[in-house]
Symmetry: C2
Subunit: 198 residues, 2 copies
């Protein structure tokens, strides 16, 4: 397959045995299929193990915890979304003015977060800790803020801007406070304008 993999270089986290890799794939597929039938919260670890044809211990060996498994599933859709940001069509992808990109970023983020709300919740803090998601997103916002000439603590500003796009806040707004989705999107645009305005 990939000759590079045959001689593992130092620093790499040690290669994975063939059966282990096969089981990981089987487990991810089994979990995805089960989620499609019953919703996320009804999928048990035993069921995933059984469907994948492995023992329960193996599931936990691979993914640490239920949250870990869900985070691994999330990782897939997150990666697709990141591709859209990095190389998809504008205004989300490159090619549009930074302000348009930042607005589109928020709208798109709201959409995917809501689409995968149940999975994100099930991934708990393991989802947030995942290198892929949190880090990339924050980086991208910082980059756009920089392009827009914003001065100040970009690190803080990025997380502060991203906070209202997180599931708990969105659910509070849409659920308890009964805001329509359009208001939330418009609110993000307004917030962005305010952050830029000095």
């Amino acid at each position: 397959m990939d000759p590079v993999r045959l001689l593992p270089m130092a620093g790499e986290p040690a290669p994975e045995r063939a059966d282990a890799a096969r089981n990981r794939e089987a487990l991810l597929r089994a979990a995805a299929e089960l989620i499609e039938h019953c919703s996320v919260e009804n999928v048990t670890m035993d069921a995933v193990a059984q469907r994948a044809g492995v023992g329960k211990g193996t599931v936990f060996r691979r993914f640490e915890s239920r949250e870990g498994l869900m985070a691994a599933l999330l990782d897939h859709t997150e990666t697709l979304w990141q591709r859209g940001v990095l190389s998809g069509p504008p205004p989300l992808g490159p090619g549009a003015p930074p302000l348009d990109r930042l607005r589109a970023f928020g709208h798109s983020r709201i959409d995917t977060v809501l689409t995968h709300a149940a999975l994100i919740r099930a991934a708990g803090r393991e989802g947030a800790r995942s290198y892929a998601a949190a880090s990339f997103i924050s980086m991208h916002v910082r980059y756009l803020l920089g392009e827009l000439g914003v001065t100040g603590d970009l690190g803080y500003l990025a997380t502060a801007l991203l906070a209202p796009l997180e599931i708990p806040i969105l659910e509070q707004q849409l659920g308890l406070e009964r805001m329509p989705l359009t208001q939330v999107r418009h609110g993000w645009d307004d917030l962005v304008d305010r952050v830029l305005s000095r």
Copy 2:
């Protein structure tokens, strides 16, 4: 005690039987004591029930779930904090200019949230749903924004401003991103300025 209580008016959620009330108190006290010894995450519902001298079923009857019990405990400290906002000394309490109050509000919120981080996490979404906390806080921020002459969607702005004060975001900033606490406090001040600046 309170003569008004003797004739319950319509609309009230029905009075509580004497033994029930006694058990609620006993359970809250037992839980608080156990938390003081072992930390929150090591306190089991069985232990709380046993210490309070009641059956396990009673705990769940009173508080619905573990999260419900934790939320009830939180409610106490939240109420104290609210008193500080409503009638404590300035700049958190009334008497200071709105901008100073808003800044102080953020700093104070960060402090209490971090102090009770474990409990808040254990209360999960039950803590957020609690009428007391979320609603009051949002109301207060809206009020201050109004005093400051901010125009726009104050409802959205309030939740957006409050989002970076929530536990998951604070923990991400202080933990993963290794920001010092002073940076977070300063970041809040800056964010407030930006939101006001148009």
